[in-house]
Symmetry: D2
């Protein structure tokens, strides 16, 4: 059992606590810090938290807790993380780790120097579907992963600081792209180096300084592409989908809007439908178990299990740093309108990943380029002559 | 925290333990009973259970546990339940409660006389989607529930005793129909009396004495219909769907084969895909979190939460008894080829439920039968004259 | 090219004409009959029909046409069909053929005695998906068909006469059940005799004399079951789905509400969304090509192709008669609350269809009851001893 | 009725003829040209074509036909188009128009100088779903279109010349990207100028010189983005999906793999399942009416209708030229690794399209940035002060 200090009582702090205290969980938020006394009181009541405070240092140092969860706005991560490292407690920080790679690197240094446990709370790589899909990919069912599309779009975040470039470190990319980038990185393989990024972004709808819509491509050393699609201007709810294409197969994940639960109501419902739902009558698509579906349950199982086993979790601060470095390259690409390198002063993965794929021979002279069953029942082959390089087609029964 | 004796180490015992010990659960299986020493040993190792035995009484009486879960074949429920009631422990029994209503009633009597906690382990009313859908229906979004279809079909159960009419108490109806009947009963309202049943069943495929396919209709006093569809001859995986139709809306739930996770693999996977999956290459539809999706997690949260709060859980032995009584009527209808009454010597719900629905007036003389927007942009009304009863149509802009 | 007299200019007449005149069709409605002069004029203008009349006989006898389509209310079918047979023209009659089997049989007699082409306009067996699925079943991909569910439910028909028991011949069963029954019959095999029916029906919502919701089971001589589900009280649009289960496979067809076109609009659309759509903002599910998706295009291709080739179409008046006979049995079952035989004074299919299914041997002594890959990677077999009949399970690698 | 010369008897020629001769179509392929005598004969027999030849000029000049359809490999388009223009017949050319914009421009010049009808056979903007979706967008249901994703990926084309860079003009982009680009352009508005393109492409799997996978972004003058995703390395069938996001709504179209038809077969089917289907047992997703679903039927309805009405069709050679110009920019961007301008020597759309979007006021001082219903039932607003620009959040009931 872990006793936890939670820093921050906003939407993300609520989701975390619901995941921890829900079902028959054995971990407990013991101390909660909020910037507002009023919110602190309400939070304590709602989630049955014994102790609340508006003093950050007090919350971190509280002797009844052994781990600190940082669920604060982006500009407050570094301070909170460093203060926790100083007192030698395990620290778990919400996404994104930093507002940029420089900040993230300082946090990584701090926890590694202090020798404390560090977990990067990237929940979306822990959804039940993602965990199962990652196993499937690792088991070889997709062959080599060639491309991953990860998409998170909705109508925009719920707190003011997200919309402030300075406090958040950016717009939809820093808010949502961090998820998509790390999802793709998990599928492609964390040991594969992300090499360069090209990114489009625009402020299409909202009266803000930062981007409310962006599409980016991250090229990895082995030739694989991670594609992120993020928006604060999407209409229809929260669109949370991943697609993985490999040489041998494909995976499609839909985490939110089409998960096998469909409700039509002519009179509508007074209840909450789902996070970011836009309508409460007509056809609606709720999610049965939101904290499960968003990966919070799986994430804390990994985190607190790792703490108990004195291991590193699946996602740690080094991962958070890599994600920030990729985001930095994306912002740079928006400015320069060209591909930009991912700058990684520290690289802990492998070097020189292979881009090649092995092909099947048709006979001694030809490799098979592709084959397809046609509507007339015949099979059509595309062959390449190994010597001449000439491509021909051939029909067989 | 609950310390549990688990009776039975088959598939259902494994699912229960996975739900209890999984994630960061605080309850523990302390003692497991198996009829086979070999299976007991394997189970203890796999799930980290401190103590195993092949002596049923020893397992029930073990002083380190305060609750007993009965996960035995159907013909062994009564004995195990009564023995647990005798020692005054909380008893949780898997579905179906009895092989028939008579057996179920004796078990209900036993636990009520002993004054012990009794939970009926009907997992499928606790799936995340079902819990959310029941809230939606209770909130009024569907108006009055008119019809519920609940379907569970797959290629047949995995242990021999299921296929033996005497040991199981029947075939696909007793095995799967118990789920479907209780799902419908939850949506229609447990206080509404089930009145009569008509049922078709046949042994279409397998060389067995009992039915491997059945469709039944349960009529409730308020006019609502619960429809169950069960089969051991379905091909394609496990089809687990519910549909609810009310005067104001509709709910469609798909728990297994189409939940937003789709995998194609040309090379196939060596891994387990999902319970009852029939193919391991081509297009596959795994489930991210099986024990969650099947309701085991939500079920034990309710059960052990109720024990702690000294309340009755959502599903108790009385519910199990009602389900058995409905199944008895279904088997009787198969024999007589007509509607058969549901015999409930004890009825604890309401009496005289209303079958009527309130209609909207169009004007002083007419009620609206229906209205529809046509493809030419006009609205077509069907009206009924309150006095003459004559139905007419009318087109308005 | 066919020149057509169309009798009736309501919704169904419009759909028929849209199918005939749409795309690059070569057949033409030459003469249209309407009971109302006003509607006749509007129809002629909208669909570019050269000649309209309110005189039924004139329309049928018009010398410029060689085929007559009956798209009139149910109580007017017999008169129109007989008048057409009398003048020796091809006659195509909308569904249901008669209000009951007696009426249908008289119509069948009339056309057969006159020796004219007769087509039964059961559009839903001609949808692109149904045509393809029937080919798949005939090709053997599903083995023996065991069960077909066909469902058509919506918020009720758009013209007054449907709601009048006398004029229509019944309620939702005669209106919608005729589709579902014939769909199932096509999948099971038209040569297999329908033996008996059990049916529940009720007037759950509307202030009418006939049923607005019904579920029926039709048992065929080979043991297969055709299940129809019809309602005028469904909310959410038009639910048009079929499911086919065979010994070797499964087919799921969704013709209307989930066909791969999904639209969300916060502001809504002023346009028509789809037949029976209930909402015009929020999430909507239009159908791209309604007359194609409903089978009208495929149906007329078969009908006029058959006329040209002097063949009988896929659906003729004998089929319409069989459907009416099954519906009669359903209405009888509602009254008697038991299974009722399907009375077929004329049966043109096969006799004595086999109910058996062939099983695979495991070894000399055992047949395989079922097998399943379990989550531990082992395969579990259920075997039956051929001599003793004993069922056992066995785990293999 | 049109009498047609068809040049080319490969897969695309077959699809075209199936669309023209299918159902009750009134147009006819009168003359077919094939490079191979054998294929010409087979084609004539299969599709009942009166006259075939291996002489291109003869086919074009044949006096019995009034329109010529060019269904030849890409490198033969220009010659065939110019020869047809010379004889003054209507010319319909398959996609892509040219191998590059220069070639396309010459063809546009030729037909315009000759004053003949010219149709660009871009079938995928004519699918039933796309036609309906374009109406929905034009009706305003989505507000301003911000982003369109169009995806076409499969396992690669079936004839050798596609794989030869010289003959085809490129790889997956020229083969499939032409569809995606024109789909996006239709949704965004053909009058809006495409400004610049960034594109990633790679040869990830096949032993060929051209790209087998590419992702591109096309920026339009009004700020909208058209995203194309094309691949010859996708596994699982043909993935044909479009997504449209506007300020007020969203459209999702799935044309092939998930259209409401799902088949499971344990024994498999000997029949053709669908174009590019990769498996013939397990779960399969056929399409009911392929030539309809791919837009061929709607396309020829527009084309031959336009010829009869002496109008220009929805897609003409100018559109084909614009698509080629965008593809040229994409290939340039792959080389330079930066955004590249779309070079349009002739621009016939509007100039100076606006990028702005109108926002709603909250009160005199604030505009609404966004609002969301939270799980506690309260609504959270993000507001921006019109003078200071400061963003704040506010919770209301």
């Amino acid at each position: 059992m872990s006793r936890i200090t939670l820093l921050g009582t906003g939407l993300i702090g609520s989701f975390y606590t619901e995941a921890l205290h829900g079902n028959r969980g054995r971990d407990r938020v013991q101390v909660a810090y909020s910037r507002s006394e009023e919110r602190a009181r309400q939070f304590a009541k709602k989630w049955d938290v014994p102790s609340v405070t508006t003093n950050l240092e007090e919350a971190i140092c509280d002797e009844t807790t052994d781990a600190v969860i940082v669920a604060l706005p982006n500009h407050l991560h570094e301070q909170a993380v460093c203060a926790t490292a100083d007192v030698g407690k395990a620290v778990l920080c919400t996404k994104p780790l930093g507002r940029n790679a420089e900040e993230a690197l300082r946090m990584l240094d701090a926890v590694e120097k202090a020798g404390v446990f560090h977990g990067y709370l990237e929940d979306l790589v822990y959804t039940p579907k993602t965990i199962k899909a990652l196993q499937t990919v690792k088991g070889g069912a997709l062959g080599k992963v060639l491309w991953v599309r990860s998409r998170e779009t909705h109508s925009g975040p719920h707190s003011d600081w997200f919309w402030d470039k300075e406090l958040a470190g950016g717009g939809a990319i820093i808010d949502l792209g961090c998820h998509c980038i790390e999802i793709a990185r998990n599928f492609i393989g964390k040991q594969i180096r992300p090499v360069e990024v090209v990114c489009w972004a625009d402020t299409q709808v909202h009266p803000i300084e930062t981007e409310d819509h962006a599409i980016g491509l991250v090229r990895y050393e082995n030739g694989a592409i991670g594609q992120f699609e993020v928006s604060w201007s999407f209409r229809g709810g929260m669109d949370l989908r991943d697609e993985v294409v490999g040489t041998e197969g494909t995976i499609w994940l839909n985490h939110w809007l089409r998960t096998g639960m469909e409700v039509f109501s002519a009179v509508g419902t007074a209840d909450y439908v789902a996070e970011k739902a836009e309508n409460s009558s007509g056809w609606m698509f709720p999610v049965g178990d939101e904290v499960g579906a968003l990966g919070y349950v799986g994430m804390f199982t990994d985190m607190f299990g790792a703490i108990e086993k004195r291991q590193s979790p699946q996602e740690n601060f080094y991962d958070g740093f890599v994600v920030n470095a990729i985001i930095d390259a994306a912002y740079q690409s928006i400015r320069t309108k060209q591909w930009e390198p991912v700058l990684l002063p520290i690289w802990r993965g492998s070097e020189g990943s292979n881009t090649s794929v092995i092909l099947s021979d048709y006979d001694a002279e030809h490799v098979i380029v592709k084959q397809e069953l046609m509507s007339d029942g015949l099979t059509k082959l595309i062959l390449k002559n190994k010597k001449t390089g000439k491509v021909t087609d051939k029909t067989i029964r």
